[in-house]
């Protein structure tokens, strides 16, 4: 039977086909076609394949969870966990390796890499727990503080924060039985983080006081350059991480000024990773899902983003945790664990309630890592590695249709997870037999690229690109 279309019918069908082909990428990425739980979270425009949930994909036992002392992580207690002798040996090894590599011009550790790494850490604003004193407050202007609904406040903050450099923004309401436990009991400098029934925040030699009325946590991501991360674990790769922290210090100060200008307090991280558990707060705010990395994976940038937070007394409509099939995918994938040169990451198929050492807090079912192995590798190469982030299939630049297809499929069903992992091995293979410090992608190629976006970040990610 032959098709017997009139010319008019045929043209109509061709038009539909053209429209279908034209709109297909947008439909799968869902940026414009679908709306992401807009009733609950009007401020977030997430991809259509991301669904929200009242609980995160990582199980939490709030009764078991206690407020954590940040300095118990390997950031603060590495020498105690591995012993002084090993710590000294690693320090010596680090000095020797970096010294040799800079003289040998090892790609990623050359003079120019080290110079850029150093440069990217400069020029940040002052980082403080307490809000700035010199802000132009409503009081100084003789007007009342800003008033509006928690939804309006969330919308306003998101718009302001996106403009100042945040990738995604979410909000968590503190509850003493649950989410408040994600605020550190002690900061990296061992100061007690005390939540008290007082009007104003304060700080002395021993403690920082958060007023009880400051019940909301603003959580945000700052994306990192995926292409630069691909040079992990080199000094060049560490540069982009450093740049994100530098950016955030200035960002935090601006956010504190903004909140003060509205008549509210913004209590910031006093130093890197202070105040509260970033991945946990990011998970509760729906910025991403926990993963085999025991870190956050975002739908927008995979793990190639840093998470930051601030406590405020400005009432904000909380955003909900998400389920995009990421944690489920991790059960099958294991690529990061295979790539990890120190074998620090878990190879288990299911997450566990048991931490692998005193550096992790109990009370959540996670893929706990041996953090001392990871740190020991960092010390040997003199950088913060990041090979696991780089290997992750979700850490892509999301321009090819395949990424949207993979994300939609991962979210819809776990059936194709192992096939998708296999495809990722073809498209994101990495080096076959790397030696100590060898990069995922050649840093010397990076130095020839003058067409990377500003800061190496595609800032239109998450927005409609038609």
């Amino acid at each position: 039977m032959a098709f017997n279309l009139t010319r008019r019918e045929f043209l109509k069908d061709l038009g539909l086909l053209g429209a279908g082909i034209t709109l297909a990428p947008a439909a799968v990425s869902g940026n414009t076609i679908f709306d992401w739980d807009n009733e609950k979270t009007p401020q977030l425009h997430r991809p259509g394949w991301v669904s929200t949930s009242s609980v995160p994909t990582m199980e939490i036992d709030w009764d078991k969870m206690q407020r954590w002392r940040e300095w118990r992580t390997t950031r603060g207690s590495f020498p105690e966990y591995v012993g002084k002798e090993r710590d000294d040996r690693l320090t010596k090894l680090q000095t020797e390796n970096l010294d040799r590599w800079v003289k040998q011009n090892k790609p990623g550790y050359t003079l120019k890499d080290r110079a850029l790494q150093n440069a990217a850490g400069q020029g940040s604003g002052a980082q403080s727990f307490l809000p700035p004193k010199d802000a132009t407050t409503p009081d100084k202007l003789g007007v009342a503080p800003w008033k509006g609904s928690p939804e309006d406040a969330a919308l306003m903050l998101t718009a302001a924060m996106r403009h100042m450099g945040a990738g995604t923004v979410g909000f968590v309401e503190l509850d003493s039985r649950t989410t408040e436990k994600l605020i550190y009991a002690e900061d990296p400098d061992k100061k007690v983080m005390s939540i008290e029934d007082v009007a104003n925040p304060s700080e002395d030699d021993k403690k920082r006081v958060i007023p009880k009325k400051a019940r909301w946590v603003i959580v945000w991501t700052i994306p990192m350059s995926q292409e630069t991360m691909k040079t992990a674990p080199t000094a060049l790769c560490s540069m982009t991480t450093g740049l994100t922290y530098t950016t955030n210090r200035s960002f935090q100060l601006r956010l504190q000024y903004f909140l003060a200008g509205l008549g509210y307090m913004g209590l910031g991280e006093n130093s890197t990773n202070a105040l509260g558990i970033s991945p946990a707060l990011g998970t509760m705010a729906g910025l991403g899902e926990m993963s085999r990395l025991n870190r956050l994976i975002t739908p927008e940038w995979g793990p190639i983003a840093r998470v930051f937070k601030m406590v405020t007394d400005l009432p904000l409509a909380p955003t909900k945790p998400i389920n995009a099939g990421i944690m489920q995918f991790c059960k099958v994938c294991k690529k990061c664990a295979e790539f990890c040169p120190s074998k620090a990451l878990s190879f288990d198929t299911e997450p566990s309630w048991e931490p692998r050492g005193p550096w992790s807090n109990p009370g959540h079912k996670a893929f706990f890592e041996d953090s001392t192995k990871c740190r020991a590798y960092w010390r040997q190469v003199g950088t913060n590695c990041g090979l696991c982030f780089t290997a992750c299939p979700f850490g892509t630049k999301n321009q090819a249709f395949f990424h949207a297809f993979r994300n939609a499929l991962t979210s819809a069903t776990p059936v194709f997870d192992s096939a998708l992992r296999a495809v990722d091995d073809w498209i994101n293979p990495g080096p076959a037999n790397p030696e100590l410090g060898d990069p995922f992608k050649n840093p010397e190629d990076w130095w020839k690229r003058t067409d990377l976006p500003i800061y190496g970040i595609n800032t239109s990610s998450g927005l409609s690109t038609i």
């Binding site: 086909l17 429209a19 082909i21 994101n428």
Partner: protein, 99 residues
Amino acid sequence: MWWLVLGIVIGALGFWLVSWAKAHKVAVQWYEWLLGVIAIGLGALALQNYYAFLREMEPQAAMVMLALLGIPALALAIIAVGLAWWQNTKKVAGAPKKS
């Protein structure tokens, strides 16, 4: 934008193909059209992924996607055209000769 251009090009080519088939009294079966449409869809996806992966600075991924989607697209297109050609030549060959 490029998708719009591609849509227009495919639309124009399709229109020409149908007009040509009609003018030459070439009968095309519904499944041949279907195979053709799938081939065009896969081909468009192959192109999108190829160029986007190049923009992502992942040349190996670009080649993998070109092969993964482009080869089936090409195979389907060849099958669709081959089937239509074979059936039409068969018909012509089997037609009663003019006396």
